[in-house]
Amino acid sequence: MKHIRLIALAIAVIFCVGLFAGCGETNYAANNTEYVIGLSGPLTGGAAMYGSAVANAAQLAVDEINAAGGLNGIKFKLIATDDMNDATKISTNYSSMYESGMQVSLGSVTTQPGLEFKNLSADDNVFFLTPSASGDDIPTNPNGFQMCFADGNQGKVAAEFVNTNYAGQTIGVFYKSDEAYSKGIYDQFKTNLDSSINVVETTFTEANSSDFSTQIDTLKDCTFIFMPIYYTPASLFMTQAKDIIAADGVYYGCDGFDGIDNIDGFDINTIPQEITMLSHFNSKATEGPAKEFIDKYVEKYGASTLNQFGASAYDCVYAIFNAMKKAIDGGKDIPVTISASDLCEILKAEFNGGFTYQNGVTGENISWESTGYVNKGAIKYIIKEAN
């Protein structure tokens, strides 16, 4: 009667596990000795460079804060889990971070997993300030805030720029059809574009993101090309197109362009065309907080992953730190074992109540709207003038 024994064993095991599960607590942070910040991002796979940049820069900020004595002596700890840009991984990643004491979070690095993250964190009421998940839907819950510009906003600003400068002309658009970031900006761009402007558009997908000869051929007569894409495919496009697109052409990108001048082996000066972007961070900044950040980041992690993702993450950590500090100065009590939900209420009150983060790497006087969108100046950077 082996079966009976087996079944008894199975039942015993299940009961043991069940008992274990029963020992759960509602405040998982009760045993924390440091404030725990959680982060989910693609640390491996095709989008890993963005996730690593965020994880590196956030760690840099945390280390600095800790070296300076933390928040009233309490240090911070960063947990960065890998979601491989796959939304399915979020549920277990998020809950394991939450259960290991996460009190506040940087959300998800990319938009698609971010859509999962925002709802899970809303269930538990965990505050998040995402550095780079720029989807319009990301901060819709009260607990979510963005440090980057929302996609729709970027598309709109870009369309306004084109409307004033290229009325009645033909422009090219090059976007990635299966990426939320690119598609989000593109959709708003198209909606806000004047009908007088003639658009030649072409796309690529994740599966074909290196050979752009056909797309370049399509766009070869355009002198202004709007490219709401990230810098890696952009740099490839430019390299392949440098002799084909007119030398006085303009490549106009959004914040995804940032970092294009730091790619290992890509000499931006070999591109004859002008490269311009609308962004909150300039990785070639020569002064101010941006410069300090760049120096520190490059010293520790090298220039190859230096981009606006990291800069934004660095600001996120400091913004959360400053908001917590402000709350404490304002009489709030934030013990190290505060539950995520309690901390969320405090931070929400700060972020909705006129908290301003000054002298950020990605802008001065950064504040937030009650919708969770960020309020700061977008600057048009000319990364490289036409030769």
């Binding site: 460079m49 072409t202 997908t205 074909n208 056909t214």
Partner: protein, 290 residues
């Protein structure tokens, strides 16, 4: 007209790369009867080796090292991972190949980091003829692919090793009885396949000078598709399938409305072709015996 010309040339050069990878797929399949899912990742390894040796600013040295390194890697993988499984279920070999593919990708990320590496091997520039502007590297790719395919066909037809390969692919047992060193032949096949993959890596870099750890995954699948369209196991078939796929891809990207569906279109073409010709264009029809 110039539009058609440039599209076709771009398509042919992309197809040339697919064909180059598909040749490796098809040869390994023909001889070892296994789907080498890690084949695409050899391209990526080749790319990284070129990147490393381009530090010496000598393209020829870099290419040579890439080929040598990939050949060694291919043979080592065969000896370590596939040879112990000879005679086991082919699905087990397939899963091992997938494991190798994950292994190579994660090793590449650990060694070279997550950011793309860019490297310009040689700038051929571009030419304009008949009004169409094309990159010279596209023409080079196409030319080299044709030469390699011709050389490979001759090699298989007229050399001792080549004929031994045909014998092994026809009937392993009988080949062994005829005194052919089957293990040796399989090793040679992997070496040739890996060398071709290294060349494919080079052409990728000529086209789009950027390497990441996932560089080889999708081209690998596309090349597999190409090999099947042409008839898996057939060398001219791989060439034909690769070129066809490349042209279809470029034409599809040209037409704005269907451009986002390019992958779907390529794969639909595969299904349609297989419905009409179940063994691809040049695949051998084998009668089933009881």
């Amino acid at each position: 007209m110039e539009l058609i010309l440039s599209t076709v040339i771009n398509g042919l050069s992309l197809g040339g790369i697919y064909a180059m990878i598909a040749l490796g797929y098809t040869m390994v399949y023909g001889i070892a009867k296994m789907l080498n899912f890690a084949h695409g990742d050899i391209i990526m390894v080749g790319g990284y080796v070129i990147y490393v040796f381009m530090a010496f600013h000598n393209p020829l040295l870099a290419i040579l090292m890439a080929v040598v390194f990939c050949v060694i890697l291919g043979v080592v993988i065969e000896k370590v991972a596939y040879k112990p499984l000879r005679g086991a279920s082919p699905l087990a070999v397939l899963i091992t190949a997938i494991g190798i593919s994950y292994l190579l990708q994660s090793l590449a990320q650990i060694i070279f980091g997550s950011a793309n590496k860019m490297v310009t091997v040689y700038d051929f520039g571009s030419v304009t003829f008949l009004g169409a502007t094309v990159q010279v590297s596209a023409l080079v790719t196409l030319g080299v692919t044709v030469i390699v395919m011709a050389a490979l066909t001759l090699f298989v037809k007229y050399t001792r090793i080549g004929r031994a390969m045909i014998a092994v692919s026809e009937d392993k047992g009988a080949a062994q009885l005829m005194g052919i060193n089957v293990d040796g032949i399989i090793t040679v096949t992997f070496a040739i396949g890996s060398a071709l993959a290294a060349l494919a890596g080079l052409f990728y870099l000529l086209k789009a000078p950027s390497i990441s750890s996932t560089l080889g995954a999708m081209p690998g699948i596309k090349a597999f598709t190409a090999a099947v369209i042409g008839g898996i196991g057939s060398i001219p078939g791989a060439m034909l399938g690769g070129l066809l796929l490349g042209i279809v891809e470029c034409i599809s990207y040209k037409i704005t409305v269907i451009a986002p569906y390019t992958d779907a279109i390529e794969f639909s073409i595969l299904i349609i072709i297989l419905l009409v010709r179940p063994t691809g264009f040049l695949g051998k029809k084998r009668r089933e015996k009881v």
